[in-house]
């Protein structure tokens, strides 16, 4: 089975990279850009298991390694 974990900066944390990307999009005159926040996406292949067990495993992965919970949050999707 497949899963996706998305890691993003907490709203309270400044994101200079997102700001730089936002500036570049403005320079390209892409209309309507009000703000950009950069994050990370992890596409993960899992052995077949019950959805609860999969979610628990991914939570462990996210909290122990994929995200730094001091400045980041994460979202788990089973696909």
């Amino acid at each position: 089975m497949k899963a996706r974990v998305t890691v993003t900066l907490k709203p309270s944390v400044l994101d200079p990279q997102g700001k730089a990307i936002e500036g570049a999009l403005h320079a390209l005159e892409v209309p309507g850009i009000k703000g950009v926040r950069q994050g990370k996406v992890f596409d993960i292949e899992l052995a077949d298991m019950a959805p609860d067990a999969a979610t628990a495993a991914l939570k462990t992965a996210a909290e122990r390694l994929l995200a730094n919970l001091i400045v980041e949050t994460y979202r788990i999707e089973l696909v």
């Binding site: 944390v13 200079p16 990279q17 390694l65 994929l66 730094n68 001091i70 400045v71």
Partner: protein, 228 residues
Amino acid sequence: MKAAIITFPGSNRDGDVFRALADVTGHEPVHVWHADYELPQGTDLVVLPGGFSYGDYLRCGAIAGRAHIMQAVTTHANRGGLVLGICNGFQILVESGLLPGVLMRNANLRFVCKMQHLRVERADTPFTRAYRQHQVIKVCIAHGEGNYIADAETIARLEGEGLVAFRYCDAAGKIGGVANPNGSLHDVAGIYSQQRNVLGLMPHPENLIDPLVGGIDGRGLFQSLIAA
């Protein structure tokens, strides 16, 4: 003083720290590979050197912070052993939870490589006793992710308990403003653990031990460690 230098894949200042320790303390440290499980018996000081462990994949220091040897380093720290993390080593210390906070991308998004003045915040720790309190030293910095961030509670605790080790300053010792190269909160260049036996800092004292390369202000840190 027995020192062990941990080498991770991508460490590149392990040789510099070896030379600084051997030259200043007169004792040759030993190299320890990251996949080892144990530190050499009788280790007094563990050094996590600078570099780009695992190519800075995921987050700087994130993967190295979970290496096998870090369990032994944590045990060593918890029983009062000395741990020094320089640059990437500092990033590894915060990622492994041995020090609080996080090192984010420099506020101006640039990799900064230059000489930098620091103020020694206190001279009563195993790492700084060869300096004077508030002495201004000139060392070098070379990092892209040195912007120290922590929540307000953690910053208040670091300040309240005197756990800030070094702050960025100018040649006259004036803290912050344009002297802050990366946006670090409270101009933090290095911090101690609660017991002050773990020190993490972004600057490179190990590269300022020889007049040939522009100064010897880094020697004090290694002189301080001789008594350890």
